[in-house]
Symmetry: C2
């Protein structure tokens, strides 16, 4: 793809289209997908692609983010045909860098918990995680190189871990949210899923208009966080974290970090999100309400019932935790922590538990999920690396370094699919 010859771009785009043709009816990663809109971005544009840093990169866009010519449905029925008039700012940047937009990917309802139809490519009976479900599954299945996503609680980290791909969420506030329909302003952060860390570094550099791409760099000291929720991690996740600690110690000083005084982070994140989402969604309480899922209505009710004074107290407590984590980063360049409780759970009724990301979303830290481990059922399991707020490029540099030391991730192949096809 780094070769911008139109021949290789066309071949790559056709490869992606072919995988979509063969497997999308089972994986269901896309909400809207228009083959002719894809081809029109490639045909007759050999000159245009020249010297564009992402020439021919295939891109999926989570369906809370505006991307022409598609509607923005936010995982709901009643927002069908809400047609944006321009691309979200980040989509415009990626297109301008040569990315080819493949369509809109499935999100849970309003990027909360009610799942869409997407299945995990590694096991069609398991969730891909959410809310960036379609982007994660589509990257895992090789439909697209990069899938834009967003995170308010755990919506990039968890699907990345479940689908065995890289998930990058920058510092809260770093990427423009122009053209993105968020859920809770205190946490909403645009990010993306992709196949490997070098791709993440390149995409980040384009979005930020940086004049260079992050290069691998060993951190001086790595903090390993079991987190206060360690008992909720399955053996697969516990093994992944402890093995990571051993592997990373080959190139850096590695120590355990206790985070017992951050235990309130999970509750605070859930409360602030509920209060803000209740204000964002259906302020009128009229038509929409009957169209919302029970799980979303439950959060909205929680938010509506919350005292404003309680919400304000939660915001103050969150600010205190943000100050406290800064002191942790005086000792450690990077933290490593569980990305999800374990393998993707069976069934499609739930997108899994966000427990291992709520604290980090509350703190607004940049995070990158790196795949490489495998659970007892052969499903992928990732770990996440975190850095101090604002240290997005340092995080990517350390992740490039870590990726070399961690096991090569298990890649999805269509073997099982081909058999079930017969």
């Amino acid at each position: 793809m780094r070769d911008d010859g139109i021949g290789s771009i066309r071949r790559h785009v056709n490869d992606c289209l072919e995988r979509i043709d063969r497997f999308e009816d089972r994986i269901r990663a896309f909400v809207t997908f228009d083959r002719s809109a894809v081809l029109s971005q490639v045909e007759g544009r050999a000159d245009w692609f020249r010297n564009r840093p992402l020439a021919g990169i295939t891109l999926g866009v989570k369906d809370i983010i505006d991307a022409l010519p598609y509607p923005t449905e936010c995982g709901t029925r009643f927002r069908r045909s809400t047609q944006p008039v321009q691309d979200a700012a980040v989509v415009a940047r990626l297109k301008s860098a040569g990315a080819v937009v493949f369509g809109k990917t499935v999100t849970t309802e309003f990027a909360y918990f009610a799942p869409g139809p997407t299945r995990n490519p590694f096991d069609l009976n398991r969730t891909p995680g959410g809310s960036s479900s379609g982007s994660a599954a589509a990257v895992a299945a090789g439909f697209i190189d990069v899938g834009l996503g967003s995170q308010t609680a755990a919506s990039i980290t968890r699907p990345a871990s479940y689908c065995g791909v890289v998930g990058f969420k920058p510092t809260h506030g770093r990427y423009s949210l122009a053209g993105v329909r968020g859920l809770a302003p205190s946490f909403d952060t645009l990010g993306f899923l992709c196949r490997d860390v070098p791709t993440a570094a390149q995409v980040h550099s384009v979005i930020m208009a940086a004049d260079r791409v992050a290069e691998p760099k060993a951190p001086a000291r790595v903090g390993v966080c079991r987190t206060p929720w360690w008992d909720m991690a399955e053996a697969a996740t516990q093994d992944a974290l402890l093995k990571s600690a051993v592997l990373l110690s080959a190139g850096a000083e590695v120590e355990e970090v206790g985070l017992d005084d951050f235990v309130d982070g999970v509750r605070l994140q859930a409360e602030i999100m509920a209060f803000e989402a209740a204000a964002m969604i259906s302020p009128d309480g009229d038509v929409l309400e009957r169209d919302l899922s029970p799980v979303l209505m439950k959060m909205i009710e929680l938010g509506r019932e919350m005292d404003y004074a309680h919400y304000q107290k939660s915001l103050r407590d969150a600010a205190e935790l943000r100050r406290r984590i800064d002191t942790v980063f005086e000792t450690y360049d990077v933290l490593v922590a569980p990305a999800a409780p374990g393998e993707a759970p069976e069934g499609l009724a739930s997108t899994g538990d966000p427990i291992f990301s709520r604290l980090w979303s509350l703190l607004g830290l940049p995070t990158i999920t790196v795949p490489g481990f495998t659970g007892p059922s052969g499903m992928p399991v990732g770990i996440q690396l975190l850095a101090r707020a604002g240290q997005d490029e340092a995080l990517l540099s350390h992740a490039l370094w870590a990726e070399q030391l961690l096991p090569a991730p298990k890649r999805w192949t269509s073997v099982g699919m081909e058999v079930s096809d017969a």
Copy 2:
């Protein structure tokens, strides 16, 4: 307006419409305004307005913010007819609370410096300030009760001071930006202009879905900031600040605060804004470029030429200043500072100097501009109050207290207009 009888709502809406009929052709606060769309929100809806906290409040929406049924043109020619499919999140909340949308108000080009046609109601030969030019002028002239605005450098504070109205900008990140076309994600903040502080407190409580409205409260200690740019303040602004210090000392301990170690804030704000705006606007550098004003192109060029490493350093320095201001707020509940260099400058070619707001925008602090002073030409001059990040409600409480101690603001009357009419 707090009486939600449909009769008084209709009378108030008609009063606003009548003022628009008489004076809008000279003030030019609106980009788009549709009388029938206004009336359709009122007629036959007596029941609907009952018990809505903002029943019949008349609202203007800065034209970088989506509000149906109007296009969002961002103060440009080439974005005509970009028709949003839904209201911005904050507009939806205000409408749901009973606000009547009067139309889209003039913004400078992309909310930067190139002015629109709006004139200052107090002197048609002077700028209303920018970028929220139309909202400030429309509130001053009594066309609307509340005008939504946004601030990246000084775009609420400065027009509020120039037009003699209240301008409120919450903590960066507090109000949702869904449906808002921003300029620089590190600073873009939605806010509004209105006639007095009680209205500001009520509107804020609706936007935040709070179960109560801020009440007046004296701060224990007020810090008076001449700021490092004191020599750039005209006598009118210097007098306003020093008189404020005396008046507020009737109810609180008042001290001068030196901010010499924040002098870099102006440069950092300008650099970060330029870099981010260059990435946001016209990433492709194609069609748009020739349609942009020289002043905007100059900032974009500055941003494009900036090293990414320099931008990152500026972000780190900004974070350090944010930590430093927190220690100032350990001593002071509220700061008071100049809102603009002086009276609105003559002429419409410039919206004035943002110097007295850049630092505060960099720091992301909540700020409220309160009118009450008058310059040598009889033009209004305001001062701004600031609080620690996150302390939006405390700021409003202290502003309600301060408003009682400061001089009653000079209100615009149509006398001069009537004469020039003849």
